[in-house]
Amino acid sequence: MKLSVDRIRHVALLARLALTPEEERELAATLDQILAHMDTLSRLDTTDVEPTAHVAAVETPWRDDVVTNAPDTAALLANAPARDDDLFLVPKIID
């Protein structure tokens, strides 16, 4: 077992997930099995191999710095789970 439940909890905190104890146990087991399969990658010698981040040979495209989408507060707030007038509402973050 490579992944302890403590390690799972740490990763879950990084991932912003409040896992249940049952999920922690299940993930520890399945991630262990999946990572064991991924360890097969270490059999390959990749010393002089460049990493591929992206296959498309696209240069960063540039355009003029002009607004192309008109502001539409109503549309942007339409899906908000909680709002106060024209603002998103969140729990208090500063005491």
Partner: protein
Amino acid sequence: MLNDLTIATAAKRLRRGELSAVDLTRAALDRIAATDLALNAFLTVTADAALAAAAAADAALKRGVGVGPLTGIPIAIKDVIATKGVRTTAASKILDGFVPSYDATVTSRLKDAGAVIVGKVNCDEFAMGSSNENSAYGVTRNPWDLARVPGGSSGGSAASVAAGQALAALGTDTGGSIRLPAAYTGIVGLKPTYGRVSRFGVIAYASSLDQVGPLARDVTDAALLLGVLAGHDPRDSTSVDRPVPDYAAAIAGGVAGAHSLRVALPREYFGAGLQPEVERAVRAAADVLRDAGAVLHEASLPHTEYGVACYYVLAPAEASSNLARYDGIRYGLRAPSAASLLDLYRDTREAGFGREVKRRIMLGTYVLSSGYYDAYYLKAQKVRTLIRRDFERVFADADVIVTPVAPTTAFRIGEKATDPLAMYLSDVLTIGVNLAGLPAIVAPCGRDASGLPIGLQIVGPPFGEEIVLRAARAFEAATDWHALRPPDVAGREAPP
């Protein structure tokens, strides 16, 4: 039957006035009503908007102005693709009531071409899965056998086309999500070259791999749809500015398109674990191409066996980053009465994401976390280079690569649901294409002893859509597998 028409045939009849777009759309909507209790392919049916679009199409056809290549054609859209004013969930509870304020570029392109959007179709949550069992809204069933999966993640797209609920559908393919369902349901699916089709407005899973493409009844329709979808989009920085060829012209030769075609058969794709009927059908399909003038040779893609490990490091890593945006603040689900902002994030994501999505977020966060980055993420990026080079080497001597799509035909619902690694391994024959960014088409090429469809995969070099379409059309013109339709499931309910 109106529901069995191809786009090409329907478009011809619409233009001649032998068929109205309203009748064609009504037939699709009736078909959805009659069959979707059994299939569960649709998450949202947009009947009113579809009938209005169909009426507008009829008016355009009558006037003879403003008629596009898809005018009056009923099409379904995978629910990871944004549709303005129409609920778009990515089959996730976290986006249950989400209504986009804009269209994805591919949605606008369909509308501009005259298409009638009949609704949004089911898929694995955030396109993560190979069976459609990861949808938060229940599995889509395979019209060929309701006890079996339609494949994933574009399972609703495939089932809707196979069962006559729509003439074609849009899907997305990150590791095989167009091709696997196309194979499992006996239809044609095309995954374009990375960069060929805009991803703007497509809910991101793994951004270096995701690509939109069509699922259709035959190769001609797939070519027509690609012509509508392809092209540069300034709103997607990975979309490539390159002319869009005439794909219809590419397939016009029919069976003669196979003449002198250099076809490579990679031995690693015909290895152990392949269902014998799948191997026989795909080799027989290669022989059909040879009899039509193609030249076959064996080739090697030596890093094939590392594809699944490579993909399941990179895709979850990208997903863990892409899905960080679902935080319960600006849209989507918010967990009730969280005490702090951190708890709000954690409770919202815990309640909103399904099991497999959490697994991939955890896996991705783990491989990117301090101390593991080099061993997993960087290593996988280097292995991706090796896989890419394998394909480059084969394409030095070949026009296309012909392979099976999956080791088996459609498996039973529940068969792999508790074994994620077994599920991941079902992607082994499709994943390499995504890692290398290549175009690939799937076409039906046989049936197994249970009557389930078998798919043929034809892979091309970057921006080689014309040649894969040409090869697939040549095969199709010489065979009649594409004419097979699944049994009618109208009036049936889903088995327990």
